[in-house]
């Protein structure tokens, strides 16, 4: 098992090394698509650390993206990028630490709607702060070129996959899965369920925070309504679920599929894109539990040799 995971990790790392060459080989359009792809990989792979592993489905992960972006927007003219990115991650981690423990006592569907409500609450608080400061949107002057942002996104995307793989293989990950399968039993055999869940929640918030900072460097514009858009949370869940949220490689399929679909539809027919996203979510949950990846594995396992 560990050998297999080491191979997967090696494969992902090799792919990441190859991907470094993209900005020098392709034009800005493809680098931009690559950036989008990597951003979603970073968000989705971070999400599965809490939601894929423990079954506590967070429908509010955009809150970490938003808080990271907000930190980046407010410190943009004061700090260099290499300081802003960790700071954005730190801000997300602090938020996750504050809300994680109480929120994770709430189970099942209540946790889902709670995380959604929480991200909306933070959104409206930020909107009110901004309007109290009489700021309507913040522009980021002198943001780096897409090639540079792409490389940072590549780093974050790679790190998120590595973290997901490492967590899955560790004792920590085994504990998290035990919580998903039966929380009472997990507690009975001595797993500190509260601390495990809180730790996974914080771990899953850091990269989204940094990604949020990166996202507004790309758009060079920050408004709370846009960056805290709950649609982002929905897309994270959908990408992970249609790919198969149980294994670190599953979400990669979901991300690739939806990002390519987005490129094809978003500029002309954004509503049609969301309709397809909605339909896919329904179809996978009802007819394809385990996602595309789970289905493929199932087919491969069932194939006659």
């Amino acid at each position: 098992m560990t050998g297999r995971v080491a191979r997967v990790a090696g494969f992902v790392t090799a792919a990441a090394f190859l991907a470094i060459a993209l900005p020098s080989a392709a034009n800005d359009y493809f680098v931009g698509v690559g950036f989008t792809l990597l951003v979603w990989i970073a968000l989705t792979e971070s999400w599965i650390v809490i939601s894929g592993m423990t079954g506590y489905i967070s429908l509010g992960h955009v809150v970490f993206v938003g808080i990271g972006a907000y930190v980046a927007a407010t410190t943009w003219s004061m700090l260099p990028i290499w300081a802003i990115l960790p700071l954005a991650g730190l801000a997300a981690a602090v938020l996750a630490t504050l809300v994680g423990y109480p929120c994770l006592r709430v189970r099942g569907p209540y946790f889902v709607i709670l995380t959604f409500g929480l991200s909306e609450l933070v959104k409206y608080i930020v909107i009110n702060i901004e309007s109290a400061l009489t700021v309507s949107g913040r522009v980021l002057f002198g943001a780096p070129a897409v090639g540079t942002l792409y490389l940072i996104a590549l780093g974050l995307g790679w790190a998120s996959v590595m973290i997901a793989l490492a967590v899955r293989e560790s004792r920590f990950g085994a504990g998290l899965r035990a919580i998903r399968d039966n929380e009472e039993a997990a507690e009975t055999i001595g797993i500190a369920t509260g601390r495990f869940k809180a730790a996974a929640f914080v771990l899953s918030s850091i990269i989204p925070g940094m990604t949020g900072a990166l996202m507004i460097m790309r758009s060079t514009y920050f408004t709370p309504l846009e960056i805290f858009n709950p649609q982002t949370s929905v897309l994270i869940v959908t990408m992970a679920v249609i790919g198969g949220s149980d294994r670190p490689l599953g979400p990669l399929l979901g991300v690739a599929f939806l990002v390519l679909l987005q490129e094809a539809l978003w500029s002309n027919l954004p509503q049609l894109y969301m309709i397809v996203v909605g339909a896919l979510l329904v179809a996978v949950v009802v007819w394809l539990p385990g996602g595309i990846y789970g289905r493929l594995q199932h087919l491969i396992a069932a194939a006659p040799r």
């Binding site: 079954g55 489905i57 709430v106 569907p109 709670l114 409500g117 909605g278 979510l281 329904v282």
Partner: protein, 292 residues
């Protein structure tokens, strides 16, 4: 306490109660978390809007179209998605989470289909908006109509669950599913009926909302959230509780906004929502709903 605010609170509260009623009915009988409930309200609102702007039909007449349309949507979703899914053990095992994701997908579909068909713009129409004196308060007539209809439906619902055979059968399924099946209550038909009834009431609520407020394809989600606050306040699966919860939230919101500022409205609703979820994490289902 000013009568002005009290009436505003009653109007808001009775609509919340109406929306929450359907949500709770669907959860109670099937344990489905219908996060697309606000979108059903939105559809009802659009029916009323097109009725008055294209055909010059009063919203009260449009309600006669909105209600069956919403009910038909409910039937379609039950037959198309849930009837089969609910026979699979894998789906049932995590039915609340799964149904939440499914309804989420449905809500995204409904929002975007509406936005594609009718543009994402806000719309509104004027209906009975002259202002009258009413027990010492100054109120537009349309708000009084909303209050009268939603109040009547809420009272009707209480009587329905107390007196009619169908209402009692639904309540029996909510309280003791297996036992209800044993005494010969047809589960599948009760489920279908509940889903249609819940959707129908949401469609009616949409017509009422459109009389006093602007509508848009994305108006539904805040309503869904509000309805969840109400249902959680009153207890999931407790139909009478959601009526009380609705009025409570109406009072809380109206007086809260009057004391602070309208821009704090969303913060307040979400804060109450989160506080209720955090403070009663396990006890939300009412006293004792065994996990089956």
């Amino acid at each position: 306490m000013s009568t002005q605010l009290l009436i505003a609170a009653l109007v808001a509260g009775s609509v919340y109660a109406l929306i929450a009623l359907g949500l709770n009915l669907i959860y109670g009988t099937m344990r489905l978390l219908n996060v697309a409930h606000g979108e059903v309200v939105m559809i009802g609102a659009y029916v009323a809007y097109w009725g008055i702007s294209l055909l010059a039909v009063s919203p009260l007449v449009s309600a006669l179209a909105a209600i069956p349309l919403a009910a038909a949507l409910g039937a379609l979703i039950y037959v198309g998605v849930f009837r089969k899914a609910m026979q699979s053990g894998e789906f049932l095992e995590r039915i609340e989470g799964n149904s939440l994701l499914v309804f989420f997908g449905i809500s995204v579909i409904l929002q975007n289909v509406t936005s594609l068909l009718f543009t994402p713009n806000q719309r509104g129409y004027r209906y009975q908006d002259e202002i009258v004196q009413f027990i010492g308060a100054v109120v537009p007539v349309n708000k009084l109509i909303v209050l009268a209809i939603s109040g009547a439906v809420c009272v009707g619902a209480v009587l329905f669950f107390r007196l009619s055979t169908l209402g009692l059968a639904i309540k029996a399924v909510i309280q003791q599913r297996e036992a209800a099946a044993l005494v010969g209550i047809p589960l599948e038909r009760i489920e279908l009926t509940s889903l249609c009834l819940g959707f129908a009431v949401a469609g009616l609520a949409g017509v009422l909302v459109s009389m006093t407020e602007e509508i848009s394809p994305f108006m539904g989600f805040p309503l869904t959230v509000t309805a969840f606050v109400v249902v959680i306040l009153g207890g999931l699966g407790n139909v009478l509780g959601s009526l009380i919860g609705g009025l409570l939230l109406g009072v809380l919101e109206t007086f809260g906004v009057a004391l602070t500022a309208p821009s704090y409205r969303s913060i307040m609703i979400y804060a109450v929502f989160i506080a209720v979820l955090l403070l009663r994490p396990q006890g939300l289902l009412g006293a004792a709903r065994a996990r089956t």
